[in-house]
Symmetry: C2
Subunit: 170 residues, 2 copies
């Protein structure tokens, strides 16, 4: 007999998700546009769940929804450029965080195209080229462990933040 989810636990799970999402809206975070290019195709997505893990070897992590339109290309290429947005770049975040087709996402923004590398966003606070060296699946998301190859530091001195469902500048 197939196991059926009874209504009570389902309602509880939905309430827990709702409470969690409201709480996470209060977790202020920098905004990034993560790009990839290679045999798996060119793609990019907006991400706020990005953090530094260790400096030995220099590694960041990026959380990516397995249902994202950028998931296939990102995991197949196993290379990303993490572009940390500077103040005023909220339009780029909106473009890469919505349902816009992948080609349109890249069309309206200026990039530094570099042979064999993912596009680096012009005017970003910094662009960090990484190899995805490991990944762990947690529920709906993959946590991608990204080892740093090169850092383009534009010394922007400002940061775009997302907090309480709004953009802020610092």
């Amino acid at each position: 007999m197939p196991t059926e989810l009874s209504p009570a636990p389902l309602a509880e799970a939905i309430t827990a998700q709702h409470t969690f999402r409201n709480a996470m809206a209060q977790l202020a975070a920098a905004v990034h546009v993560v790009t990839t290019d290679g045999r798996g195709g060119k793609a990019g997505f907006a991400a706020s769940a990005v953090c530094s893990v260790t400096d030995s070897p220099p590694t960041l992590l990026v959380c990516l929804n397995r249902g994202s339109s950028a998931w296939q290309a990102t995991t197949e290429n196993a290379r990303v450029c993490i572009n940390t947005l500077s103040a005023g770049q909220q339009a780029v975040s909106a473009l890469f965080g919505g349902k816009t087709a992948m080609t349109e996402r890249f069309a309206g923004v200026e990039w530094l195209e570099r042979a064999g590398k993912a596009p680096a966003l012009a005017g970003a606070a910094m662009s960090i080229d990484c190899r995805i060296v490991n990944a762990t699946t947690v529920g709906s998301h993959d946590v991608l462990f990204c080892e740093v190859d090169e850092i383009i530091d534009n010394q922007a001195g400002s940061s775009l933040l997302y907090f309480n469902r709004q953009y802020h500048s610092l």
Copy 2:
């Protein structure tokens, strides 16, 4: 014959770490004090490498240096309270981010003590009780995957941030 690290790669690794640390200083992040209590003892540490992973099931991750004085207690208890700091709580961050003895860290601050749970910080933006359900070691750090049990949401409406090696309020 034992393998010796020649000076050139060592110098390169140090340069890479230095460049990486300077870049990571530009990654603005919310500040948290993560506490634990139980058979492994009471401990706490300041963390900015905390992010939301998935809402199914509600899960955050926390990066913790394996050399931290809080590592043993945290991993043994496998339970944490993630206290997201509100504007003005930089003194608590400094207390839990330095070399202060564990008992002194807890002495100077007001807590909500709750039987069987890690201390929740009074005046935090929110306090999130979690079970550590999984962990991955990456270089010097453990990435702790923390499934949410309960959220105390104090509706602070403000956040303490760390950016360019300084505290900021939002």
